[in-house]
């Protein structure tokens, strides 16, 4: 027969004396799943938030990225004369992509641009959410589906903020461009704002998925802006998404080869998709990890 002490111990352990009592999972009362409250980011767009962000981006973020990598920015002329807001649509293969876009934008665009960031990744804990919102002017984007679509991007566009969207929904696992989801196209079509396609090459080699800091050696990265693509009246989100995909593919081709060759291939409908070589995954990763050619040393005037 168990002693009194044993029985008290059994009850104490079974009913968790001194600790929070637990209810068996199957006995928990049913509660309809509540819509998680979206992390508030308005404060990051207040004058104070904007001033702090401008200082961080100018004094910390840009020097840091530009010192650890070797970005080359092309096509900013497409933004000349363009009035915002726009939706910047870029391929995504590295955590460097958002800082590269923000820090490569001209000042007038940068201070009015927000970035859509994965709610489940960047907004999972308050300190990461607050940091992301402040430094990148980020707002949470639900990518898991099943939840109510946030109206934040529409509201931001209405308020004149441009938006950076990565339509693949996540960073590429092999460095190449994946399938675009229709959200960005839908946003442009419904809000009636142009999309500025972008191709970012080399960021996967410089800082692939899984790394927390760029690869040493200042890997070159190309950030190429394309001509704005304007949704036509009555154009469906699907059709506009295909045009955007083609535009990014052309930019990728242009960056890989040259503008003229890309134009010719585009005119013949032979733009190669930026999906990378066919073959096993290791081969695709291998090719995507190949650093872009470094800049040629300037010809020495004085020898």
């Amino acid at each position: 027969m168990a002693s009194l002490l044993d029985e008290v111990r059994e009850v104490a352990r079974g009913w968790r004396w001194g600790r929070r009592p637990l209810v068996p999972r199957s006995a928990e009362p049913f509660a309809p799943p509540s819509e998680p409250r979206e992390f508030p980011t308005e404060w990051a767009r207040s004058p104070v938030g904007r001033a702090a962000r401008a200082a961080i981006q100018r004094l910390v973020l840009r020097p840091l990225v530009w010192s650890e990598t070797d970005p080359r920015v092309h096509g900013l002329d497409h933004l000349e004369g363009l009035r915002g807001p726009v939706v910047f649509v870029a391929n995504h293969s590295s955590h460097l992509d958002a800082p590269l876009i923000l820090c490569s934008l001209p000042e007038r665009w940068r201070r009015r641009t927000a970035v859509g960031a994965a709610a489940d990744y960047f907004f999972d804990v308050w300190w990461r959410a607050a940091g992301t919102a402040l430094v990148f002017n980020a707002f949470p984007v639900e990518r898991s589906g099943g939840r109510r679509l946030s109206d934040t991007p529409w509201r931001l566009l209405r308020e004149g903020w441009s938006i950076v969207v990565f339509p693949e929904g996540t960073r590429s696992r092999d460095g190449w461009v994946g399938r675009f989801r229709p959200g960005a196209a839908m946003l442009c079509a419904e809000a009636g704002v142009p999309a500025v396609p972008m191709a970012i090459r080399g960021s996967f080699a410089a800082m692939p998925r899984g790394r927390g800091w760029p690869v040493p050696g200042r890997y070159p990265i190309s950030v190429r802006y394309g001509a704005p693509v304007v949704p036509e009246p009555g154009e469906s989100a699907g059709a506009f998404m295909r045009r955007l995909t083609d535009a990014v593919a052309r930019l990728w081709d242009e960056d890989h080869h040259d503008w003229w060759a890309a134009q010719v291939r585009a005119a013949r409908g032979r733009t190669p998709p930026p999906a990378g070589p066919a073959g096993p995954r290791w081969l695709r990763v291998w090719e995507a990890s190949r650093p872009l050619p470094r800049r040629r040393a300037r010809p020495r005037v004085w020898s």
Partner: protein, 525 residues
């Protein structure tokens, strides 16, 4: 609104679960994934019970109001359920007392003089005067005992009337007084779905000649379950008899249903789900268990016998038997029904200290078997909780102990019959007649407080369906000799029992624990 019945799935958050073990209880850890069937929470009782009874008698179902059936010069017999109901005995006033007082009040006002009250004890032991007084109340007892309030005697040749045969050839023989009355009022307590309806009069006031037609192995094997009257051959037979009686005799049925307030406040933890135990419940459990374990068995038994259930009445319906019973069954289901998905490999049951046949008595091994394999196994609608060929694990000490006044034929049945065979069909064909007609047992039944000589056979038949269905029966903590005598196995611990059951049902069985009492009726899909 009370919470409905519920099936818990044991996970790592689940505290140990309470298990009854005869005159004792304890908590046990169950394997992860075990499903635990809990009855619905206790329903709220009727707030003004006397008014509800009066209303039911004046507005009966399928019948004229009782007052219109009563007239001067008539012969009125009022029969009521015996000591086997409810379990545990309820706190006074017993609901039978309240109904009887209202019925007798009406009879007195209508000038009825020839009134007799009969305990419908069938082949059960006669109730003692004290037990009867407790059930009917002091006023009724003082007015009618002993000349006009008595136990039914199923062996009194002068007191029985042969009514006839059903279309299936079943003899119907009941109390002569009841059969020859102008009106028979039957007052019932419907604790489980098996009770009541046409089972009340033909069984409660029936003789062995009548009962043997449905209290037999064949009928019990075809009652799946006998807690589900439409699927029960037992109830089919009782219904045929009841309808035959209704052609000969005016029967006015009053049925009552109870909620699940089974244990008094000091044992309140027995009524609650374990993860909802307050600190007071936990302390109450520890104190009650330690005191119970330390007490001598005599004291322990006395403490348990003194438990009085604070049952509340959830419904009173009166009128024509079948119309009334339909409402009654709905009430019982409302209080006890739990939906369970699928059968398990192993069914676990903790047997409490009381069964219908050991009130103020001893639960001998045959009654322990009957409570587990008869009552709890049959607490299902649709399919049994355990699959065919599965195992049943029961917690009970199964002591080799008998109440020699109440259960004399049980002693001989256990020593003589079960020593030879445990097969219900063989027992029935070879021994039943001898015990049923034994003059000594009959004498004890009629003059003492003994169950009828045939009663242990009925208990054994009660478990026939389970014995036929199950592949293994294991008693945890059971006396090895008495368990082996019944053809089952004993295990020292729950872990051992699971290990033993695994030999038959495999090493990773599905387990269902029927957490009862309070009573739960599983609707297995």
């Amino acid at each position: 609104m009370s919470r409905p019945g519920f099936v818990l799935e044991v996970d790592e958050r689940t505290p140990p679960l309470l298990v009854h073990r005869g005159e004792g209880f304890g908590v046990h850890r169950f394997p992860l994934g075990t499903r635990v069937v809990y009855p619905p929470d206790s329903l709220p009782p009727l707030s003004n019970l006397r008014a509800e009874i009066r209303h039911a008698l004046q507005n009966p179902l399928g019948s004229e109001p009782l007052s219109e059936l009563l007239r001067p010069g008539m012969r009125l017999t009022v029969a009521f359920d015996d000591v086997s109901l409810p379990l545990p005995p309820m706190k006074t006033p017993d609901v039978r007392q309240l109904v009887l007082e209202e019925v007798l009040e009406l009879a007195a006002r209508r000038g009825v003089e020839d009134v007799e009250l009969v305990v419908a004890n069938s082949l059960h032991r006669r109730m003692t005067a004290k037990e009867i007084e407790r059930a009917v109340g002091e006023r009724v007892f003082r007015s009618f005992w002993p000349e006009r309030l008595r136990n039914f005697d199923a062996e009194d040749p002068e007191g029985l009337a042969y009514v006839g045969k059903t279309d299936k050839g079943e003899d119907v023989e009941i109390s002569k007084r009841a059969a020859e009355s102008d009106l028979l009022v039957y007052v019932n307590i419907n604790l489980v779905a098996m009770d009541g309806g046409h089972k009340s009069v033909p069984v409660g006031l029936g003789s062995y000649r009548s009962l043997r037609h449905h209290h037999n192995v064949h009928t019990m094997l075809n009652s799946r379950s006998y807690m589900d009257p439409p699927s029960s051959a037992l109830h089919g037979s009782a219904t045929r008899m009841g309808r035959l009686l209704a052609d000969h005799l005016r029967i006015f049925t009053v049925e009552t249903t109870l909620n699940n307030e089974t244990f008094p406040r000091e044992f309140g933890f027995l009524n609650r789900r374990e993860w909802e135990w307050s600190l007071r419940d936990q302390a109450g459990y520890l104190a009650a268990k330690r005191a119970n374990d330390a007490a001598p068995s005599r004291i322990r038994r006395q403490v348990f016998r003194r438990i009085r259930a604070p049952y509340g009445v959830t419904g009173v319906h009166a009128g024509e038997t079948e119309a009334v019973h339909e409402r009654t069954l709905a009430n019982v289901h409302r209080q006890q029904k739990v939906e369970v998905n699928g059968q398990a490999d192993i069914l676990v049951v903790g047997l409490p200290y009381i069964s219908p046949y050991n009130v103020n008595s001893i639960m001998n091994p045959i009654l322990a078997m009957c409570l587990g394999l008869g009552y709890f196994f049959n607490m299902y609608l649709g399919r049994p909780l355990v699959r065919p060929g599965g195992a049943m694990i029961l917690f009970h000490p199964v002591p080799w102990e008998f109440h020699t006044v109440h259960h004399p034929s049980y002693v001989d049945f256990f020593e003589e019959v079960l020593a030879e065979t445990t097969d219900p069909a063989q027992i029935e064909s070879k021994f039943e007649q001898q015990y049923a007609t034994d003059p000594w047992y009959t004498h004890l039944y009629r003059t003492s407080h003994a169950y009828h000589g045939v009663h242990p056979f009925y208990m054994w038949y009660w478990g026939a369906h389970a014995m036929d269905h199950l592949g293994d029966v294991i008693f945890v903590g059971g006396d090895r000799r008495s368990v082996r005598r019944m053809g089952f196995r004993a295990a020292s611990t729950f872990a051992d029992a699971l290990e033993m059951a695994g030999e038959r049902v495999g090493s990773s069985p599905t387990i269902t624990y029927l957490h009862s009492p309070p009573l739960a009726l599983a609707e297995v899909r």
